[in-house]
């Protein structure tokens, strides 16, 4: 089974005091640490698990600059066989453009399955997977929490609202957006990542893909990015952890929850 995984490098924003940039179109990114998008980490693991079981190749793709190659090497260290980086140059990207670029790149490759993450931990748009499937004319499923190939089909498990799961059959080739928790991604050591330098990493310039300017024109126009206004009514609970915990329990009880 030949699998393509689309992965993205995103900033770690946990506990960071984000600041809006001068143009008010984004946040300041220079002090941020970047990692592979968590969902994509699961997608790579799933691809590698399937490849270990059923053979074939795993190709990891990212659109990004040279720094983003780090996540490709991580994917290679996890067990991917090849990787492709599409250099976007100075172009601004949104979900639409990304899916166009990916579709154009993937169209000529051989694959039975495309995996993306459900969403990326930066804008959380959750658009690329489904748009890419549409672009390639593939059957797809979103928020997949399980996948078992069965001949030319696959049995998939999809997470629904309200804690319900849905199991269905999908015809391959298809595209799945992978939900966290589908597996337990492996750790790859720094040495493993360094050794992955020996594996194939192809760089393609976006201008060489032959996409039209219309394809490369963003459809998402950001008017303004701002921090949520501070609202009234928030109560900060101070104290050591145990007194904080007991105060919280008190509040929950007061609100009528029986615990």
């Amino acid at each position: 089974m030949n699998i393509i995984v689309c992965i993205k490098r995103v900033p770690l924003t946990q506990e960071v005091d984000l600041e809006v940039d001068e143009l008010k179109k984004g946040v300041k990114k220079d002090a941020l640490a970047y990692v592979i998008n968590d969902w994509d980490n699961y997608a790579v693991e799933e691809a590698v698990l399937l490849q270990e079981k059923f053979g074939g190749t795993v190709t990891a793709i990212t659109i990004g600059d040279e720094d983003d190659e780090e996540i490709l090497r991580r994917a290679l260290a996890m067990g991917a066989d090849k990787s492709i980086r599409i250099e976007p140059g100075e172009r601004e990207l949104d979900g639409f453009v990304i899916s166009k670029i990916l579709a154009k790149t993937i169209r000529d490759l051989e694959y039975d399955l495309i995996l993306t993450g459900v969403q990326a931990d930066d804008d959380n748009a959750a658009m690329v997977g489904t748009m890419l499937a549409e672009e390639l004319g593939l059957s797809h499923a979103a928020v997949v929490t399980g996948m078992e190939p069965e001949g030319s089909d696959a049995i998939i498990r999809v997470e629904l609202e309200g804690g319900m799961d849905e199991v269905s059959k999908i015809k391959l080739p298809s595209l799945l957006t992978i939900q966290t928790g589908i597996n337990e991604p492996r750790y790859v050591s720094i040495m493993g990542i360094r050794k992955a330098r020996k594996k194939e990493l192809v760089v393609i310039n976006v201008e060489d893909l032959g996409l039209s300017e219309d394809d490369l024109a963003q459809r998402t126009m950001i008017e303004e990015v701002f921090l949520p206004p501070e609202t009234e009514g928030a109560e900060m609970i101070e104290g050591d952890p145990s007194s904080v915990a007991s105060q919280i329990i008190q509040i929950i009880k007061e609100k009528g929850v029986s615990i």
């Binding site: 770690l12 946990q14 506990e15 960071v16 005091d17 002090a31 640490a33 970047y34 990692v35 337990e184 991604p185 492996r186 750790y187 790859v188 050591s189 720094i190 040495m191 493993g192 990542i193 360094r194 145990s242």
Partner: protein
């Protein structure tokens, strides 16, 4: 009637010495063959340079190999062992003498004709009795007292060899005793063992005496060569390997061995760590051969004490058995692959949880009379587990965070110095490249971000400020020291952190580094290259108190009984036992009591690495809880530590154990600072 030497008799029509030669050649050839076979595996082990500091090695060999200084740490067993060891030393000459007599080449004859002869005869007789007594004592101890630490050891072999040694003593006693009775030359010597045998043989017919004489000799020689060949087959190999093992012992403490000795750049390596037996260094394989199965390591191992699936002794026994399987006496060729379907060594013979159970506390290594190493081996196996993604999944995020943000919490590097904002009245300088400072305070990740450890860091800063020391912290420039990362087996990441920290340290001029916790102290001092001037805060502040810069004057409010817990990386790994105690004694009206397990026998709190992020399921109780119990048994109600991890573990154990009313934990720095404030 004069005794005829048994080899001068004829047997089956052949002179005795023909048989003596046959036994000698067969026994020695077999012995060398076995040793050759055993050496194959050692020779296929990885490099491990152990020849530097010959002088120190020789003096340690004398102290620990010959004088056996560590033996009496277990008093009676130690005394017995020393008696037997010294018996072997004295009686070795006797054995060679007996053998060479048989070969008709009595090389010691001239020596024995001098004044040394009669002296030696008396001495060896005395030692025969001593060894015999020691063997009997040892047998009785094993059978009656049944020390727990022998569980899992090869007990039968122990009894068998004690019996065999006794047999060697007895045969020589009767050989000499019968000669005494037959010898009418009237020489007067003090031969207590032979005389005892003679007493027993008194009144026997001359034929019987002659027979006893001959039979004793032959049995002695046969038993001797049997013994020689039996040694390398089991735990008594140590009789041969212990002295070399002590000679080649590790001289430095605290540091973890490099991934491969002699390889500067780990990028050159195909793989890190140890997967199969030959990946261990030759010295580590020698360790397996040398283990005496005395169980002292496991008896002191905190992981073993709380029922985790790790017993260092069993780890060695299993790996020695594996050595013998991989390189059997017949058939193994160098580089031979393990048999198809054979159990993997790492993850099979030694389970993953066994490997993760170790806190690297060093209690085992401190105790082992023959200096067998554990920590380096365990880390080497962890390196393999990390490299092959077999680590506990909980490590993934921690290690990723360390890589990306320089701390295990994944908190922004920019916030590394945020704790100093909370300090009222104590200015703390966050250094930048090019700055100059007297004391560089290396706070490390826990001190920077964890609330409990932060308060220790604040106390240190306050203490430095009160003493008027010119100090500063690295703040966002500081990366995790890598102590934990290295001990979790992520060598590549450790090297990365080391490089980044060294780059920063090279850009700042300072006289010395003071650390919050013993782990950063240990790793900067021992794992980092060069010789950074690093001290732990206890060492630094004891000097300030000594020279009067700081005066802990304020009396403690409550009448408490304090006990000090030696953090492993301060005590055992770096030998700092007195500085913290001195500080405690400088505090007015502080009552101090020692726990039974203190100083180099301290019992680990749970450790500052793996334990923070991975719970071993198979555990009867927490290490920290057991330690608190020990403090309680000593009569203390306050346990003082000098390490944030000990503090965190103890605090947790006191809470989860519901002991808040009876026990308290304080960090030494907090205690000290509270006596400085007005």
């Amino acid at each position: 009637m004069l005794s005829v030497h048994p080899v001068n008799d004829t047997y089956l029509g052949l002179p005795g010495y023909v048989f003596a030669w046959a036994i000698f050649i067969a026994g020695l050839s077999l012995f060398f063959y076995i040793i050759y076979k055993r050496s194959l595996l050692i020779r296929s082990g990885e490099a491990d340079p152990r020849l530097a500091s010959l002088g120190r090695r020789l003096s340690d060999l004398l102290t620990y190999g010959i004088i056996q200084k560590r033996q009496p740490r277990y008093l009676w067993a130690g005394v017995i062992h020393i008696m037997i060891f010294w018996g072997f030393v004295v009686l070795g000459l006797r054995s060679i003498d007996l053998v060479t007599q048989g070969l008709n080449m009595p090389i010691f004859h001239p020596l024995m004709q001098t004044a040394f002869g009669p002296f030696y005869d008396s001495l060896k007789d005395l030692f025969e009795l001593i060894v015999l007594g020691a063997c009997l004592w040892a047998i009785l101890r094993r059978a009656l007292i049944r020390p727990e630490r022998y569980r899992g050891s090869h007990q039968f072999e122990a009894y068998f060899v004690l019996g065999l040694i006794s047999f060697l003593m007895l045969t020589d006693m009767f050989y000499e005793g019968s000669a005494l009775l037959m010898d009418q030359s009237g020489q007067v010597k003090w031969l207590p063992a032979s005389e005892l045998a003679a007493l027993i043989l008194q009144g026997s017919a001359p034929r019987f005496l002659a027979g006893t004489h001959a039979v004793s000799y032959w049995l002695h020689i046969l038993a001797l060569f049997f013994f020689l060949n039996f040694l390398p087959l089991g735990k008594h190999f140590h009789i041969i390997t212990a002295l070399p093992n002590v000679f080649f012992k590790r001289l430095s403490k605290g540091a973890i061995k490099p991934a491969r000795w002699g390889v500067e750049d780990i990028d050159e390596l195909e793989s890190l760590g140890v997967e199969k037996i030959e990946d261990f260094t030759w010295k580590h394989i020698l360790d397996f051969y040398t283990c005496t199965e005395c169980g002292r390591c496991s008896d002191n191992c905190p992981a073993n004490a709380i029922g985790r699936p790790l017993s260092p002794k069993m780890l060695t026994i299993k790996l020695r058995d594996h050595c013998f399987d991989r390189a059997p006496l017949f058939g193994w060729k160098k580089g031979g692959a393990p048999a198809e379907g054979a159990q993997a060594m790492v993850g099979g013979i030694i389970s993953n949880d066994e490997i993760w159970s170790c806190t690297t506390c060093g209690a085992c290594e401190e105790e082992c009379p023959v200096f067998i190493e554990y920590i380096d081996k365990i880390i080497d196996m962890r390196r393999h587990l990390i490299e092959t993604s077999q680590n506990p999944k909980t490590f993934n995020q921690v290690l990723m965070h360390v890589e990306k943000t320089g701390n295990p919490f994944g908190k922004p590097a920019a916030k590394r110095a945020d704790w100093i904002k909370e300090m009222e009245g104590t200015p703390v300088r966050a250094l930048s490249e090019g700055d100059e400072v007297d004391v560089l305070f290396f706070v490390d990740s826990y001190g920077s971000y964890d609330p409990a450890a932060q308060s220790i860091a604040s106390d240190i800063a306050e203490g430095l400020h009160i003493a008027g020391i010119d100090f500063g912290i690295l703040g966002p420039l500081e990366k995790d020291s890598g102590h934990q990362v290295r001990r979790m087996g992520e060598e590549g990441l450790f090297q990365l952190l080391l490089e980044e920290n060294m780059e920063t340290l090279n850009e700042i001029r300072f006289n010395r580094i003071v650390t919050t916790d013993p782990h950063a102290f240990n790793t900067l001092k021992n794992d980092y290259p060069g010789s950074l001037q690093v001290v732990h805060y206890t060492q630094f502040f004891v000097d300030l108190v000594d020279n009067g810069s700081l005066k802990p004057l304020k009396r403690l409010e409550k009448e408490d009984m304090y006990t000090y817990h030696d953090p492993c990386y301060l005590g055992r790994h770096n030998g700092i036992y007195d500085a913290p105690r001195k500080l405690l004694r400088a505090i007015p009206s502080l009552n101090l009591v020692e726990m039974e397990r203190s100083r180099d026998r301290s019992f680990c709190c749970g450790g500052g690495d793996v334990m923070l992020w991975y719970e071993i399921e198979q555990e009867e109780m927490r290490m920290a809880e057991k330690r608190i119990q020990m403090a309680k048994e000593a009569g203390a109600n306050v346990i003082v530590t000098a390490c944030p991890f000990c503090y965190i573990h103890f605090e947790d154990a006191i809470k989860t154990g519901g002991m808040e009313d009876e026990m308290r934990v304080v960090d030494l720095m907090g205690l000290l600072v509270s006596t400085l404030r007005n």
